[in-house]
């Protein structure tokens, strides 16, 4: 087990190092992408702050609390972007035959597919997010350590659910060799996680909690920190992560079992 972990660690380090070299080589392209990511983050943050020049609260939340929801969304989203970047090239890997090579390598093809690329630009973008989260924490009342622990746990839980979704998208690429937009649909739908789930109408809120659990990934951690999440909902979040990850694994195995190679 330890040996396998070490091997996977080495594979990840190598692929991450290659991804970093590519990003450092393509300086203009990387700079453009980085600037774009910063613009997206800062414009939205400025929007939230500007809104609170005109209103006291939104859905019962003040500026600091709304900022916490927005930043938590960014935290979960960026961690996924950093580590699961390989999924964005899943369809290409299948169509161009790279996936065939993954299958014969002494390494899990899912690992190669999901973790084969690391977006270091998001590591850079994550730094201001972490700084802003620190500033937001400082403006909130001092909570008991258990609240911060629950926040960290539910952020990790959110990342696990995002991972399950990414595995599902990979399986889709292997099964259909198309649906390249699937991951972008996920990104667009994730947009709804920028705001606390309480702003949505009841049916949408239910959909975001039970069907496409964006609320569980992004709103629940912030609510736990604010003391507005009951233990039963926290339990539901953890159970959902376990079930969705297990289902994603089954889906992936089924996809690989049906795979007949689509190229060369």
């Amino acid at each position: 087990m330890t040996q396998a972990l070490r091997r996977y660690g080495r594979v990840w380090t190598r692929t991450a190092s290659m991804a970093m070299q590519v990003q450092l080589t393509y300086r203009l392209g990387s700079f453009g992408f980085l600037l774009g990511k910063m613009i997206r983050l800062l414009f939205f943050f400025a929007f939230v702050v500007a809104i609170f020049n005109h209103v006291e609260s939104i859905a019962g939340y003040g500026l600091v609390e709304t900022a916490l929801f927005f930043l938590t969304y960014n935290l979960v989203d960026m961690i996924a972007q950093i580590f699961f970047r390989g999924v964005y090239g899943a369809r290409r890997a299948v169509n161009e035959g790279d996936f065939d090579f993954y299958l014969v390598q002494p390494c899990s093809p899912l690992f190669r597919m999901v973790f084969s690329s690391v977006d270091f630009l998001d590591v850079v973008t994550l730094l201001p997010v972490l700084a802003m989260i620190g500033m937001t924490f400082a403006r909130l009342p001092a909570y008991d350590w258990t609240r911060y622990a629950a926040y960290a746990l539910l952020v990790a839980n959110g990342v696990a659910i995002v991972f399950a979704i990414h595995v599902f998208v990979c399986g889709l690429a292997v099964r259909t060799q198309e649906l390249e937009n699937a991951i972008w649909v996920y990104r667009d739908v994730m947009f709804m996680g920028k705001f606390p789930v309480d702003v949505y109408a009841k049916p949408v809120r239910a959909a975001l909690t039970f069907v496409i659990p964006i609320a569980v990934m992004t709103t629940f951690p912030a609510k736990a920190l604010l003391g507005k999440l009951s233990p039963s909902w926290a339990l539901y979040a953890v159970a959902l992560a376990v079930v969705s990850t297990a289902l994603a694994a089954v889906w992936w195995r089924g996809s690989v079992a049906r795979y007949t190679s689509s190229s060369s």
Binding site: L179, V189, M192, F195, V204
Partner: protein, 264 residues
């Protein structure tokens, strides 16, 4: 002219043929609109007015965003980058067509499909959400809106064409294009009305062509701009369009001069 109509027709069929891609595109766009619509509904609460917009006007603005994004921001800049970088552009250059005219035909075909889908979505959303809808009563407002939106669409086409043409000089033009598209979406008012921004920033944006792409057409639709002023704004937009048409053509010609293709 017939060959461009034929290109339009083929592209229209192709877009409709790739139904899963189209549906996924629209689902993604719809999620953004539902997110923004819910956010503004929660923000407005019991208020009858916010930043000079009545409740119906503000919610109509959000729905208009969906329509204008489909009509203005649907483009094929990434395709152009790919065609230049891979050398596929060569096969178009030897054909007896203007590439710009050909690209515009394909662009219009995509816009046709997306605008019809967006109007359907907005109709359904307006019926379901019941937040009130502002519909202009006089024909002049509709005409002015149509003129402003059409110019916006062309303006975006030439702007994107110009930025994508950077691919003639660098294989890293994807970064600048990504950055340009994100900045444009915010600066155009495609996420929120620019009235939210601080006055200084708004004045600075007024000196650029960006607000003419979503914010100005939306304000014309909402009757926030007297007809004479709307006509003046449309004239300014036309001047921007002329400037960017000339700039895009000039960059394209310079790019072609520096372009070299090898192999078959």
């Amino acid at each position: 002219m017939i060959k461009y109509l034929r290109a339009y027709s083929i592209s229209l069929q192709e877009t409709l043929q790739r139904r899963s891609t189209l549906i996924m595109d629209r689902v993604g766009g719809l999620a953004v609109v539902i997110g923004l619509y819910s956010f503004w509904t929660a923000l407005l609460g019991d208020k009858t007015e916010f930043l000079g917009y009545t409740r119906a006007e503000m919610l109509t603005y959000v729905l208009l965003i969906n329509v204008l994004r489909a009509f203005v921001f649907t483009g094929r800049g990434w395709m152009l980058v790919g065609e230049i970088s891979s050398g596929r552009i060569s096969s178009y250059l030897v054909r007896p067509i203007s590439y710009q005219g050909y690209a515009l035909s394909l662009d219009l075909a995509q816009k046709t499909v997306h605008i019809v889908s967006a109007l359907l979505e907005v109709g359904i959303l307006a019926a379901v959400m019941r937040g009130g809808l502002f519909i202009p009563r006089d024909a002049a407002t509709w005409l002015l809106f149509a003129a402003a939106a059409s110019l916006s669409s062309l303006l975006f086409f030439f702007m994107e064409f110009m930025v994508s043409s950077l691919a003639f000089w660098t294989s890293e033009s994807g970064g600048p294009l990504f950055c340009f598209e994100l900045f444009l979406a915010f600066a155009a008012g495609a996420f929120f009305p620019l009235d939210v921004l601080p006055a200084g920033l708004r004045r600075a944006l007024d000196l650029t062509p960006f607000p003419y792409m979503v914010y100005v057409p939306a304000r014309i639709f909402l009757g926030k701009v007297p007809h004479a002023e709307a006509a003046r704004l449309i004239a300014v937009e036309a001047a921007w369009l002329a400037a960017f048409t000339a700039a895009a053509s000039s960059v394209w010609r310079a790019g072609l001069r520096s372009y070299a293709a090898e192999g078959g």
